[in-house]
Symmetry: D3
Subunit: 132 residues, 6 copies
């Protein structure tokens, strides 16, 4: 059983998901990213993920690049190679310069360190932060 | 041995770190956050973390709130309660509204899902993303 | 130093572990999975893991497929590619259909989301759950 | 700002989510679990999570207890205390005996070990597993 | 159902495990650590963990403090509060001074950073390391 | 954009970092490891990581091999393939025999199990460990 299902071989439900994504991105459905080809055999999971991504990246109070950086930050913390490659590329497409990338990495690495320090030294939450 | 060292009981090296932070935040050194009280007995680790945080949050191409959101995203992915409480509070202080918080959470949760889907379906990286 | 030791080149202790596994699975010891070839140089670790796997998958109150799904769920949460590939294959061999696989993934992804929500919103444990 | 919003103080959207859950579980909406009280201020995230949970636990090919065990396995791997407490309790309510719990833990711990062994020894995926 | 079972209330199998540990540590079985009280209802899991710990800490080529530091390093990376508290205490009992603790933390934090850098920049493994 | 920048193509700041590392390791700067080639476009992040590694591995109270084992333990817990390959190789170069490697792995795996047991059984920290 192959891991990826090409667009032309997808079920109608999977094709509908791909067509909606392709239309918004103005790409050919046959050129859809591998993640959708991998999900095609599980249409309910696929539809829900497509809907969740659409809602998460819908225009709102946070600008598109900020959202990509948040997505990329989670992917780095979780060490997901596919996600770092794909959303790193998307962040660049949405305006991330090399300089911004470096600043972003500096924050990600500082956060990583802060996270481990807080755990390793068993730091109790300050009363002032308890209301968060 | 207590976990936290109060400012008045810190070594001169630790006091210097705290004073620099307190000055930039215009707070009383005695009111410094617990993470610094926990690090006070390890001045070399403390100095390096303080320096790294200062550099990461120095004015640059990314605005201060974006940086807080990136920090918070990493902390949620890593499940660091102290960091979520402290940087969640800081994000609010830097302008995160409830509406922005919800949008941010929508992206964090979509990223979490995307990360696990990519791994669970063993999705190969698209050629187009390989140059990232 | 090669990463994998073939059956014919293993020490007697490693060979004994492989033979016991091969016998239960009715396969040729030379066809044993890579994980055992990788462990062959560390016989004490190898023996303990083989014993632990045998005990975990011994007949009991939970049926074999349920156990495979639990193993697979942990492997996805931990993002272990080798384990997802091997135990995904074993789950299919033990009866997991595409439909069951999709249901399983729906639960895994819901759990992932629930885990991150509980941390991100710092949800206190309900009194009713404290006795668990 | 309090972390939890009681049912009586929720917005109509949040109340509707809670009422639907309470009805299916035949409990009083005021007795809803903390996770929903924590999400009440973020109705879009709340609605999507409620929907995802409902779909994941809808009757299907996998029985309810198997689904709870999969959920619990992910929560243990991710070290989510709230989720372990709540879904551990639910697993018991759905029939998990102490004996089944122990068998389940044996598989979870074997999986944890297998995951780390595969990474630490850098085990390449067997050709036979590549099609998964 | 209480989370912890006191020594006097344990089954004979659990008591035997506790007595063996207490004897080696020359403490009163009633004073055994909470982890064993929590495991008492799952004797097979308990016995296997006790045996694994005994084997891991048996005299060998690595000295006892080095082993404690390795255990503590894993526990910090995994963010296990109980394990950091207990094995941090044991590391001190086996000779870890404040100075050594700080050096240890410097390595742990450098490793954390190295790990995330390797993932975030998608660094390919050097040919020279492939034989590891 | 290529992922790796060769030494001859690096900026003066990146070259200076590489030269300092190459000198201490008495290798040709052109033979520097991939991680530095990957970081070359982000000189501030690169300089800070180089400095942190230098400080972490500076002579002190813990011997060089112990530090490598701590680094390797963190890398295994975090499942960083690059780091396991590179620091595994370095640990061997600093004296780790196959026998020591196996003892090390036994402790790492026992720690992994202890970590998950503590979380899964929700073990409260013993009063005696609270002062750590």
């Amino acid at each position: 059983m192959p891991k990826l299902t090409e667009y032309k071989d997808m079920s109608p439900r999977a094709k509908a998901v791909v067509e909606d994504i392709a239309k918004r991105r103005t790409v050919d459905p046959a050129q859809i990213n591998n993640v959708w080809k991998a999900l095609a055999k599980h249409p309910a999971v696929m539809e829900r993920f497509a809907e969740e991504m659409k809602a998460a990246f819908a225009p709102g109070k946070l600008d598109p690049l900020t959202k990509e950086l948040v997505y990329l930050a989670v992917s780095i913390a979780n060490q997901c190679d596919y996600c770092i490659a794909s959303h790193g590329t998307m962040a660049r497409a949405k305006g991330m310069t090399d300089e911004m990338h470096e600043e972003f990495m500096a924050v990600v690495l500082a956060a990583q360190k802060g996270n481990k320090i807080a755990m390793a030294y068993r730091v109790p939450v300050d009363a002032a932060f308890e209301e968060m």
